[in-house]
């Protein structure tokens, strides 16, 4: 009898405790883990899972799926996660064309989506959404910084980017702050690997500098071919073109190149030191900007979870918006359109004593920078 009583008391306590904690929080992560863009997605996933692991939070379930950098596949996975897995939050998408395919439909179904990388302009202005939080940047930001910085040295820039939403945002952002003339403007194919035709045009254009946005393998191919072409005009780019995931493959051709980013390994704050050390210890490589943004996304989620229940959407959205977490980028706040207000830095590629190529910060382009679309957002 006593045993039965004890069992029922135990059972009751279980029931009440499960009321308090409810089910584990389910987070859907859709990212690029195969194909040419996999390096970016793997850094995203690794930093995210590491942050979750270090937090020691046990009431967390990650559903991670590979989108193979294909929009149609990402849409299917998102549907499955929302309808089948009943995820509470979603994150992970690297590429803007995939974000455009997935995010509007996801947030319309009242699922909160946190972007660890892509920040297409179409989602920052009039189409902003209370369920959409961009923890990374609005696509234009890095390029605006480099446009601003280019005014110092250059009068006739040649600019190129891939023909997809982030590519168009890139060149728009650059031109918003750059005051000089344009020697040429080219949109290349997404995934293109041979840039001989573009390099020939750069050579013939009489430009005094080249600005290119080519993330992942595209940037490696361009830089290697450019270095060999004998054109010799200085190149600049956003941090994506010279991020830690591609620098080893570009090699010494990248040394001395200036690029813009909101984060760098040497950014001096406590959270960043912890992050770089933890990432290096766990994965034996240096983190990229994608890893940094993803680490911040994970910590933002953890901070919000400690304040509000994920099932109480209004309270949880407010907790996210407060952005009460230690960002590896230093000061971080959300603007009215749920996009970051943050500093953008100019970095330079250097070779460290141990022969590893990496970036160091040489200037601050913008302090507390907001994106250009926020005022069109009705929130």
């Amino acid at each position: 009898m006593n045993r039965i009583l004890a069992a029922s008391v135990f059972g009751l306590s279980l029931a009440t405790s499960s009321l308090a904690y409810a089910e584990p929080v389910k987070i859907g992560v859709i990212t690029t883990l195969s194909g040419g863009g996999a390096g970016l997605g793997i850094d995203m996933r690794d930093a995210f899972t590491l942050a979750m692991k270090q937090s020691g939070n046990k009431d967390m379930e990650l559903v991670i799926e590979d989108d193979a950098q294909k929009p149609e596949l990402a849409v299917q996975i998102a549907e499955k996660m929302i309808q089948g897995d009943k995820v509470d939050l979603m994150t992970g998408i690297i590429w803007s064309n995939l974000a455009m395919a997935v995010v509007p439909n996801t947030v319309a179904q009242d699922v909160i989506y946190l972007s660890p990388n892509a920040g297409p302009s179409a989602l920052a202005g009039a189409n902003c959404n209370p369920n959409y939080f961009n923890v990374a940047y609005q696509n234009d930001n890095f390029h605006e910084a480099m446009g601003q910085y280019a005014n110092k040295d250059y009068k006739n820039a040649f600019i190129l980017a891939p023909n997809y939403p982030a590519g168009k945002d890139a060149l728009t952002g650059f031109k918003r702050y750059y005051k000089g003339a344009l020697a040429g403007e080219i949109y290349t194919q997404v995934g293109q690997t041979d840039y001989a035709a573009e390099i020939a045009q750069i050579r013939a254009s009489g430009a005094d500098s080249v600005y290119f946005f080519l993330p992942g393998g595209m940037g490696i191919a361009f830089m290697k071919q450019y270095a060999q072409s004998g054109v010799g005009i200085p190149v600049t780019g956003p941090g994506f073109s010279f991020s830690q995931d591609v620098l080893p493959a570009i090699g010494d051709a990248a040394i001395g190149v200036k690029n813009s980013a909101t984060w760098s390994k040497d950014l001096d704050n406590e959270a960043n030191k912890t992050f770089v050390e933890a990432f290096k210890a766990e994965y034996k490589r240096l983190p990229s900007i994608y890893a940094a943004q993803s680490w911040d996304t994970a910590n933002l989620i953890l901070a919000a979870l400690s304040k509000a229940d994920v099932k109480d959407k209004d309270a949880f959205r407010a907790a996210l918006k407060a952005a009460d977490f230690k960002s590896v980028r230093g000061e971080f706040a959300f603007n009215n359109n749920n996009h970051p207000i943050q500093n953008v830095y100019i970095r330079e590629v250097v070779k460290e004593d141990d022969g590893v190529l990496t970036n160091k910060i040489i200037a601050t382009a913008f302090e507390h920078h907001k994106d250009a679309y926020a005022e069109k957002c009705g929130m």
Binding site: I186, R203, I220, A221, G230
Partner: protein, 306 residues
């Protein structure tokens, strides 16, 4: 200025064409002799590039890497032929496509498992670094000229192999009547393995050569494979000559389209619009050319089967 740009772009087109020829020659040879559609040809290209990058990093010599790429691609090609492809000759094309598609997935994930997802570093050998002056005042990258040279040499070598040697005679015989040469006592199994390994080695060579220009990473073969299929469809399936002509057509049309279309459109519309539309049109140009050629020559320019 415009003439030098034009010459440079023509050379770029030629270089792309030559690279596509190395891919397409193997593909068309395998189709011509064995009637097999090999989708995994792009994976052999990737294997060549990975072998070259790994061996070059370990030994410090690109040239040893290049030899390794030939050996690795030919070796993997031969193993694949014996283990998988051999069972597919009597099946229809759909089964072949399915099985070789499975091979793409297996080889890609295998490469990821062995080498990781991050691109490998492979640099141009020191002897071929830099650019050379062209007549007329332009400059051109020395390494790309070397690729054109290698492509021409391979084309000549293949011509001699197929028209002058016993192996070439058997390949030609295999193309015209598979059953008959078996009946005449030629060891058809060995012939198929040799042809498959030869095609694989050419793909591996292309991968290694291009790997030094681009990035060596998983999945690098598939975009090239699509272009190589366009080449053999234009050139006529099974014809080496067709592969050469088709490759040069595709290379030059693609390069010229990317360069000329946006400038042409800029005459009639604002520059930023012209670059967007021009880039979109340029990316479909080779398929338009392919459709036009097929409309007039349904079996391609030099069909071996006709």
């Amino acid at each position: 200025m415009f003439t030098t740009l034009l010459i440079e772009q023509l050379l770029n087109g030629l270089q792309l064409g030559v690279m596509l020829f190395l891919m397409a020659a193997g593909l068309t040879l395998i189709f011509g002799v064995m009637g097999l559609i090999n989708l995994a040809h792009g994976s052999l290209y990737m294997i060549g590039a990975f072998a070259c990058a790994t061996v070059a990093a370990a030994t410090g010599s690109f040239w040893i890497g290049l030899i390794a790429s030939l050996a690795a691609a030919a070796g993997v090609g031969a193993i694949i032929e014996v283990a998988v492809i051999r069972r597919l000759y009597d099946r229809d094309h759909l089964d072949q496509v399915l099985a070789t598609f499975a091979l793409i997935l297996i080889l890609s994930e295998g490469a990821r498992w062995l080498f990781g997802s991050f691109p490998l570093y492979l640099d141009i050998p020191p002897q071929l670094q830099g650019a050379v002056a062209l007549p007329g005042g332009g400059q051109y990258q020395l390494y790309r000229l070397a690729i054109i040279g290698v492509g021409v040499a391979v084309a000549a070598g293949l011509y001699l192999l197929i028209s002058r040697t016993r192996l070439g005679m058997r390949i030609r015989a295999g193309e015209s009547d598979r059953e008959m040469i078996g009946a005449l006592g030629v060891d058809i199994g060995t012939l198929y393995t040799v042809v498959f390994a030869l095609g694989a080695a050419l793909a591996g060579l292309a991968g290694a050569l291009v790997g030094a220009l681009q990035s060596v990473q998983v999945g690098m073969g598939e975009p090239v494979l699509i272009l190589a299929f366009v080449v053999i469809v234009i050139g006529g399936i099974g014809s080496i000559k067709g592969a050469l002509v088709g490759a040069v057509i595709v290379g030059v049309v693609d390069t010229m389209g990317r360069f000329l279309l946006p400038s042409l459109l800029a005459l009639t519309m604002p520059a930023s619009q012209a670059t967007t539309i021009g880039a979109a049109l340029a990316s479909m140009l080779i398929y338009v050319v392919m459709a036009l050629i097929l409309a007039f020559r349904p079996s391609g320019l030099f069909s071996a089967q006709s």
